[in-house]
């Protein structure tokens, strides 16, 4: 019984994560400039990765594997928003301006 | 499914390698090289070479990217166009590659238990390690104990590399050059080395 619940939960988490991954990937390809692409990449880095890792944790159970997964998740949650932030800052500093609503309509 | 992962990763590797050759901007090349080593580490995990994947993760993706960036800061990030036509090198590489591929045709199928590779010393290492060395990770036992001489040689090679770099470039203390900083404000971008 408990196994079915865990399986169902991990299916749900992993499939949701996979959907977000693909959405983010398409976004990275389709968005018009660096800052909006960062937005799309951010989804895959935190939300999708988090969901997939949580889904894997349900499969791992109460073992060292899950502990390592938690650590990976923690590190990812620490590092990837920070590098996104630093990247956005560096891009702005490097002279790239975001495309705004009034600059697009000419 | 695992096979599909292999094919996909290999295809990505090929695309990245071609792109590496194509780009003239060395910075983009460093970025792509980082992707390349990430991919090859994923491939090593698939091949069960976990220790190699570990090394590739730590060295290829991390440190070597940083060191390459460090050298780009010294030499600038623009690659010169080659002066010679690439026809002859291409020919040599193509012939060598074709010969190597021809050589693989005679190789035994990958991963079969009775391949010559698995007949030489590997069975002895695997059978003896639990009783003689009692280390769960056989790779560590082979590297540090059975092949201790080889590892010592590697350490000496790394040691020599450090001696070479320290002798050629020298490690400078940023504080010791106050006077040189006074006539040159701030770091120069791109770092054109003065002759």
């Amino acid at each position: 019984m408990i196994e079915q619940i865990a399986d169902g939960a991990s299916w749900a988490f992993i499939v949701t994560g996979a959907v977000f991954l693909v959405i983010g990937g398409i976004g990275v390809l389709r968005m018009p400039d660096v800052f909006t692409r960062l937005h799309a990449a951010g989804i895959t880095d935190t939300l999708a990765s988090g969901l997939i890792l949580v889904g894997l944790m349900f499969q791992g159970g109460w073992t060292l594997v899950s502990v390592k997964l938690v650590l990976i998740l923690l590190f990812l949650l620490f590092t990837s928003p920070v590098s996104s932030h630093a990247l956005a800052r560096a891009a702005l500093h490097g002279g790239i301006r975001p495309i705004l609503a009034d600059s697009r309509g000419k | 499914m695992a096979a599909i992962v292999d094919y996909a990763v290999l295809a990505f590797l090929a695309v990245t390698a071609v792109a590496l050759l194509h780009f003239r901007n060395l910075f983009a090349v460093v970025m792509l090289a980082s992707i390349y080593s990430l991919l090859s580490a994923a491939l090593f995990v698939r091949l069960d070479a976990v220790d190699v994947a570990f090394t590739e993760a730590a060295v290829g993706a991390g440190i070597s990217t940083i060191l390459m960036l460090g050298s780009l800061a010294l030499v600038g990030s623009k690659e010169e166009r080659p002066r010679h036509t690439p026809i002859i090198p291409l020919l040599v590489v193509a012939v060598t590659g074709a010969a190597l591929i021809y050589g693989t045709l005679d190789m035994p199928p990958f991963g079969r238990a009775d391949n010559p590779v698995h007949q030489h010393v590997a069975p002895r290492y695997i059978q003896e390690t639990p009783e003689k060395i009692d280390v769960p990770n056989v790779v560590t036992a082979v590297l540090a104990s059975y092949r201790g001489y080889d590892t010592m040689g590697e350490v000496i090679v790394i040691f020599t590399a450090a001696i070479g770099v320290v002798l050629l470039l020298g490690i400078r203390q940023p504080r010791g050059e106050k006077e040189s900083r006074s006539n040159e404000k701030g770091p120069t971008r791109g770092g054109k080395a003065s002759e």
């Binding site: 590092t79 | 220790d51 060191l67 060395i133 001489y149 000496i156 770091p187």
Partner: protein, 140 residues
Amino acid sequence: MTHHLVLRVVANILVGPILLFALYVQFHGDYGPGGGFQAGVIFAAAFILYALIHGLEMTQRVLPIWVLKLCIALGALLFIGVGYACLLLGGNFLDYNALAHDPVHGQHLGILLVELGVGITVFSVMVAIFYAFAGRTGTD
């Protein structure tokens, strides 16, 4: 990069765990993937992160150059020293069985020391190369 507040805070938090993880890789190499080489690189990566955020000058206050030069030789000497210790205790060069009364214990001790030597050398060499490259940039 000290004006990046977010970056600085997170990097300061991360340096400790990275060092800890490097030690785990170093001394857990007998049981799982990893060993001296990987641990040395990860240990060096922590210092490089620190140098990237706080500058070379601060890092060299934490890890002075003379310590580094000492460590480069120390690791290699430790490795070779283990070899000679085996020789003096009656075995062959790098024959760890001679290190302890029980051959298996000797092997354990030998592997531990040798991996430590590899780790120290790799760590200090990586940081030394980084120092050499980063210290030269911008002032020439």
